[in-house]
């Protein structure tokens, strides 16, 4: 009789263990995400900067991409983070470009609404790297990068994305397809065309 009325009592120790486990999982997740973001943030920034040609806007786009990844996809397996992150990043870049197009249509006729490219350049001293190998090498790399950026600018957006993710970021076709939101076949086509055009333009310069 007495045994049928007794309420089963949850042992205290397992609950504590579960709580600790959750905290550990959260810490692990946070540390893993920290390492992942630290590994991609500079590359993502350069990609965004090449696309929008503005350092502050590029930083904003990268920050938003980091926040969205942490908010919405941190619980996903860490192997999925890279394509997801770059998908968010490119969505941010496309949003920025759409906003710029609308802004230029609305305010384009106003005097002073168009910024000169020279005005967008910050103080060059601010851009000197701390760990640059040497000045000549940096100069040559800088020139080569300028050529690459100009050539990338001339590509259609999807070809540019495919080349950036496949070649510069070293992602495989499946990851690139996830990041671009298209099929593997489309990635191959975009990448092949991008490669042909870039080689034709930069082959002699490089």
């Amino acid at each position: 009789m007495a045994s049928s009325d007794t309420v089963p009592v949850q042992p205290a120790r397992p609950e504590v263990a579960v709580t600790v486990d959750r905290e550990e999982v959260c810490l692990d997740e946070s540390e893993t995400l920290d390492r992942f973001l630290a590994g991609v943030e500079r590359r993502a920034f350069r990609i965004a900067e090449m696309a929008v040609r503005d350092r502050d806007d590029a930083l904003d786009i990268v920050q938003v991409a980091m926040l969205r990844l942490a908010r919405n996809y941190a619980a996903r397996p860490s192997e999925e983070w890279k394509p997801l992150f770059y998908r968010i990043l490119y969505n941010g870049i496309r949003d920025w470009q759409r906003r710029r197009t609308v802004r230029s249509k609305i305010f384009g006729f106003l005097p002073g609404s168009r910024r000169d490219d020279d005005e967008e350049q910050d103080d060059p001293l601010e851009r000197v790297s701390d760990g640059a190998p040497d000045a000549v090498r940096q100069l040559m790399t800088g020139e080569a990068m300028k050529h690459l950026e100009r050539a990338l600018d001339l590509l259609p957006a999807r070809q540019r994305e495919a080349f950036t993710l496949r070649c510069l970021e070293g992602m495989d076709i499946a990851e690139t397809a996830t990041a671009m939101g298209c099929t593997a076949g489309s990635v191959k086509t975009h990448y092949f065309r991008a490669l042909q055009t870039l080689r034709a333009q930069l082959g002699e310069v490089w």
Binding site: L33, E41, R127, R199
Partner: protein, 128 residues
């Protein structure tokens, strides 16, 4: 050197140039990226605050809609139909006037109505 080798060489060169441009990022930009990363990680570490903040705009919107509905409906609800005492007689008079009934009958028998008014209630009700 065949096409594949040339393509591989081009890809390798592009990667090198890009990697070096990434390595050459200035300290200020790296610092700002670091701050952005910490902000994103803070978001991950405090999920309960995020949940509350996530619902805040929806709550504010709902309150605003409710306030707007109440304000729009308030004048109608605040003036219920006023029925004063003795208004039934007034309504009767209005109905008679509005119906366009011939009032000459009343003027012809004024003496009768005067007599009727002076009679006790029992007579007037036909009980007397």
């Amino acid at each position: 050197m065949n096409t594949d080798e040339r393509t591989e060489g081009f890809e390798k060169r592009a990667r090198e140039v890009f990697n070096e441009s990434v390595a050459a990022l200035d300290a200020r930009t790296r610092s700002r990226l670091n701050h952005a990363r910490q902000a994103a990680l803070d978001e991950l570490r405090t999920p309960q605050r995020r949940t509350w903040r996530g619902w805040a705009p929806a709550g504010a919107f709902a309150v605003a809609i409710l306030a707007a509905v109440l304000l729009l409906r308030a004048p109608d609800d605040a003036t219920p139909p006023q029925v004063a005492e003795g208004s039934a007689a007034d309504v009767g008079v209005v109905e008679i006037v509005a119906s366009g009934e011939d009032l000459d009958l009343a003027s012809e028998d004024l003496e009768f109505y005067d007599w009727l008014a002076r009679q006790p209630d029992a007579v007037r009700n036909g009980n007397g």
